[in-house]
């Protein structure tokens, strides 16, 4: 029951994100969508992931998005009356992507029953918190991938600084 509520909210908010003319509202609906996703995580017995989702995506990253929208003062897209002209090649690529995405979705739904569940909360010993389990998995089994990711982010950060400040 709750799953359908959160799921519907997430899908509706995501649709509103692309349906808005005002970029400010798009950002806000994206936040609403993230909040609904956090609700889904809680239903999956992963409160830690849910809270992290709110802190990092809804709390930190979306504030930056909001800043960018506010500071660029993006004009309200008053092109609703004008039919947007799109090149035929762009349309063809778009159509191709839609077909690929739909096929992928259909395949995923069709084979959903056959796949095994990778992680479940039942496997945890009594009293073991999901935070601890997550930490152990992340820093023991996937330590290399974790560290490589952090180096990747560092490189991206340095690149941004160099690009922004050419006369260092």
């Amino acid at each position: 029951m709750l799953f359908y509520l959160f799921g519907a909210a997430a899908v509706a908010a995501s649709l509103m994100v692309i349906g808005q003319r005002n970029p400010m509202y798009s950002v806000l609906f994206l936040i609403a969508s993230f909040a609904a996703l956090a609700g889904l995580y809680v239903l999956l017995d992963a409160p830690f992931v849910a809270v992290i989702q709110i802190i990092i995506y809804a709390g930190a990253i979306m504030v930056l998005f909001l800043f960018v929208v506010m500071l660029l003062n993006a004009p309200q897209e008053d092109i609703s009356r004008v039919r947007v002209m799109v090149a035929p090649s762009t349309r063809r690529i778009g159509a191709l992507l839609v077909v690929v995405l739909l096929a992928e979705l259909a395949w995923a739904l069709a084979t959903a029953g056959e796949r095994e569940v990778w992680v479940s909360a039942e496997g945890l010993p009594e009293g073991e918190s999901s935070v601890r389990a997550l930490g152990l998995t992340l820093f023991r089994d996937y330590a290399f991938a974790f560290e490589v990711t952090s180096v990747l982010i560092l490189v991206a950060m340095l690149g941004a600084v160099v690009l922004a400040k050419r006369e260092l």
Partner: protein, 341 residues
């Protein structure tokens, strides 16, 4: 005998109203303490010793006209103060303020004095606090006024900068506490070391406590970090265009946020409701005393220190507070591993 379900709802309403009253009391305390510091009398006409002053203020605000600037985004302009107030109230939901109690045998089974016991409580407070930024940003943007926009930008960049140190201070105390649940951390702080020193985590984390309090002041936009409301530069910052009850909601949110930050500090660093002389059932008295002391310090600081300059604030946040809190986290982690606490 009252079933637990009804008791929970009563507790919910009780906490809600206590927060409202706490905000009113803070307004009164702020004006009285400010007056004392400046050798004035402060409010004294409304009620005995001016005690009714906050209520008079609220009534005045209620009867004021609700103004909305031309060109303001109507929906977001109304949403922003509500968002601020809601997040302020919601954050307190996971704060425990007393031991398990049956209210002198009134209840069937003991109940925690806490609206929601979530095992990642500390993170929930952090998450909700980070949502509170949106109230301010949206208020500044939707007002369609340059002062509001500048105030909102300052306020949110300040909150984002200090949130890092705030989070790292929380992380180091959580390392020592070994849990993300506020109740468990408080329960660890019962009793004393060597018979006289209370087992409060502030003893193990003095630097963490200091960083937490400084970042907490910045998070709640209080002086000396009250740039969003720097009158000389920005009129009143993000709430310049607000009047009547929507203005009151911003004020309410600010004071409730102060109460929440102090209450969390008491739970994490000062032993929560544990203290000498009083039996466990009356622990909430200790809790009230500790929170009141911290709130007094808040007011004291506001009326003693002048406001920083904006670049000083940013430099202090990024170049002093953040490295210190990282250092604190590393030393704490090393200590936890070495002593295997």
């Amino acid at each position: 005998m009252i079933p637990t379900f009804i008791a929970q709802i009563v507790l919910l309403l009780f906490v809600f109203h206590m927060l409202l009253i706490a905000a009113a009391a803070m307004v009164y305390a702020e004006r009285k303490v400010a007056a004392m510091i400046q050798q004035r009398l402060g409010p004294y006409l409304v009620g005995p010793r001016g005690l009714m002053q906050p209520f008079a203020d609220v009534i005045k605000l209620m009867f004021k006209e609700q103004l909305r600037p031309l060109g303001a985004d109507r929906f977001l302009f109304m949403l922003a103060p509500v968002l601020s107030a809601v997040t302020a109230f919601a954050a307190f939901a996971v704060v425990p303020f007393g031991a398990e109690t049956t209210l002198f045998g009134l209840l069937e089974e003991p109940m925690r004095l806490q609206v929601a016991d979530i095992n990642v409580g500390v993170l929930v407070i952090f998450a909700i606090a980070s949502m509170g930024v949106y109230g301010i940003v949206l208020a500044g943007w939707s007002s369609n006024s340059k002062y509001s926009l500048l105030g909102a930008l300052r306020s949110s960049s300040q909150m984002i900068s200090y949130e890092l140190s705030y989070g790292l201070a929380l992380a180091s105390v959580l390392l020592v506490g070994g849990s993300l649940s506020l109740t468990e951390i408080v329960d660890q702080q019962a009793g004393t070391w060597w018979g006289f020193l209370p087992r409060w985590l502030v003893v193990l984390q003095p630097l963490g406590f200091l960083i937490y309090m400084i970042a907490g002041i910045a998070e709640t936009n209080r002086a000396p970090f009250d740039f969003p409301e720097a009158e000389q530069e920005l009129v009143a910052g993000y709430h310049t265009e607000y009047s009547s009850m929507s203005f009151a909601m911003f004020f309410l949110a600010e004071y409730i946020n102060m109460v929440t930050v102090s209450a969390v500090a008491v739970n994490l660093f000062l032993g929560g409701w544990h203290g000498p002389f009083l039996p466990e059932a009356f622990g909430w008295i200790w809790f009230l005393i500790k929170v009141s002391v911290l709130l007094f310090v808040y007011i004291w600081i506001r009326w003693t220190l002048p406001r920083y300059r904006y670049d000083q604030l940013m430099a202090f946040g990024w170049k002093v507070l953040l490295p210190l809190s990282v250092l604190n986290l590393i030393v704490t982690a090393a200590g936890v591993i070495y002593f295997a606490v």
